[in-house]
């Protein structure tokens, strides 16, 4: 198997289980569990095929605007603004080398901003829309491509 590309290996496993094994599974629970496992395997395969591309697209689309998040909340939540500034900086610094870490920092920054908006009443109407654009972009990029 070492000669086989990981995505192709998963495709082989997936096809064998779906077409060869699943039709022979009589127990309802076992069949449901196998179908669930196959859905996960199929999506891992798609992720392997596309690599971190989706993640990097989210970061490159979100990071330029994220600079303004801290400024938008600083008047009502100065401590939160400082935390957001640091998180966005950390996201930017790791975007190329560790996109998974960068994404987590970015989402953490968005979460702090949402808390400030609803708890402290941030008066910038554009911030809520900007944050929701980013969270939508991120959730869309991570939603499974295959739902079977």
């Amino acid at each position: 198997m070492t000669d086989v590309d990981p995505a192709l290996a998963l495709e082989m496993v997936e096809r064998g289980l779906r077409l060869d094994v699943l039709p022979q599974v009589g127990d309802e629970h076992a069949a449901a569990a196998l179908r669930a496992a196959l859905t996960i395997v199929a999506n891992v395969r798609v992720r392997l095929e596309t690599g971190d591309r989706a993640l990097r697209e989210v970061l490159s689309a979100a990071l330029p605007g994220a600079d303004r998040w801290a400024d938008a909340i600083t008047a009502v939540s100065p401590d939160a603004a400082e935390q957001v500034r640091q998180l966005v900086e950390r996201a930017r610094a790791s975007a190329d080398t560790e996109p998974v870490t960068a994404r987590e920092s970015l989402l953490h920054a968005a979460q702090v901003c949402f808390t400030a908006i609803w708890r402290d009443g941030v008066p910038d109407p554009d911030l809520l829309a900007a944050l929701r654009r980013v969270t939508r972009l991120d959730a869309s990029a991570h939603a499974p491509a295959i739902r079977s």
């Binding site: 127990d27 309802e28 629970h29 449901a32 569990a33 196998l34 669930a36 496992a37 859905t39 996960i40 999506n43 987590e104 989402l107 953490h108 968005a110 979460q111 901003c113 949402f114 808390t115 908006i117 609803w118 708890r119 809520l128 944050l131 929701r132 969270t135 939508r136 959730a139 869309s140 991570h142 939603a143 499974p144 739902r147």
Partner: protein, 341 residues
Amino acid sequence: MSPPGPASLRARAENLGPYLATRIGGDASVTHVSLASQGMSATTLLVDLADGRRIVVRARGAVRTSAYDAEPDEVQFHVLRAVEQARVPAPPALFYEPDPEVLGVPFLATGRLPGSAVVPWTREGRAFLTEVGGGPAGEQLLDILVAIHSVPPHHDDLTHVFGPPPGSVSVAVTRLQETIGKNAAAPEPILTDALGWLEANLPECSDPTLVHGDFRAGNLLFEHDRISGVLDWEFAHLGDPARDLAWLMARSNRTSEELACDMIPMSEVLERYRKAGGREIHPAAIRFWDVFMLVETVGIWLGSTATWRAGELNDVRVARWTYTLPRLRLMVLDALEGATR
């Protein structure tokens, strides 16, 4: 530890005869056991007895859905007893067995209702619901919901499991915040946004009622063109009746833009509910509960994921739920943006 699987439960149920004789009397020798359904929160068995009776056994599953201290099946047992006196076609409660030694997990036993369930997301299911929704079942639907909401909230059985009715909807939001805070393993900005919006938009509910909590076509039994039963009371609680109406109208419970649960016109639901004797429901309350229930669903999934991570659960279906959480977060965001538009 994961609860016993369906095969093990069936095997144990086949030997329940002597036990059942002490609980419900008569010749309770078990002649046949079949699997009715296997959900995440319960496995349901149909148990046929020698004297011709058939009882329904609902055995606790791996995923906990109740926010109350009592066992979900114990909650259901008391709720079913409370609705018996109302005009609600619900399974007659026989008993609740808390001792896990009997079947492997605590379980609820009920009588069987006539009729059969419909799978709403199949083409045949949708066609059936649309047809009967335009006839007697559609006329019954909101009468039944009003009957559920008319059960006295201070009924002894309800007080036993729920305590006094909550004074405000904020109690439910606080409970939801705690669930998500306890189970989230990573930043959850969409849920933080939604919880903030929910807190800022609490509907007024000074007069809580019994709420079914999962009132939709998939939890109804139909006999010909009439509704013969309301099942799955595991989410029942005391709270805002608008919640049941919001779920009846929710996007995830219909395939058509026009028909709630593919049965009755969306534009007529609140008016029909009022004409059936229900209270006036403000559309803002419907928007609130629409967002709330999606966030609650994410909360349940996050809780299951945490249980899985802790090594207390091995059901692969939960792993699949975890994998599809981003899609559910998108649904929360859609509802949130729809509500604030």
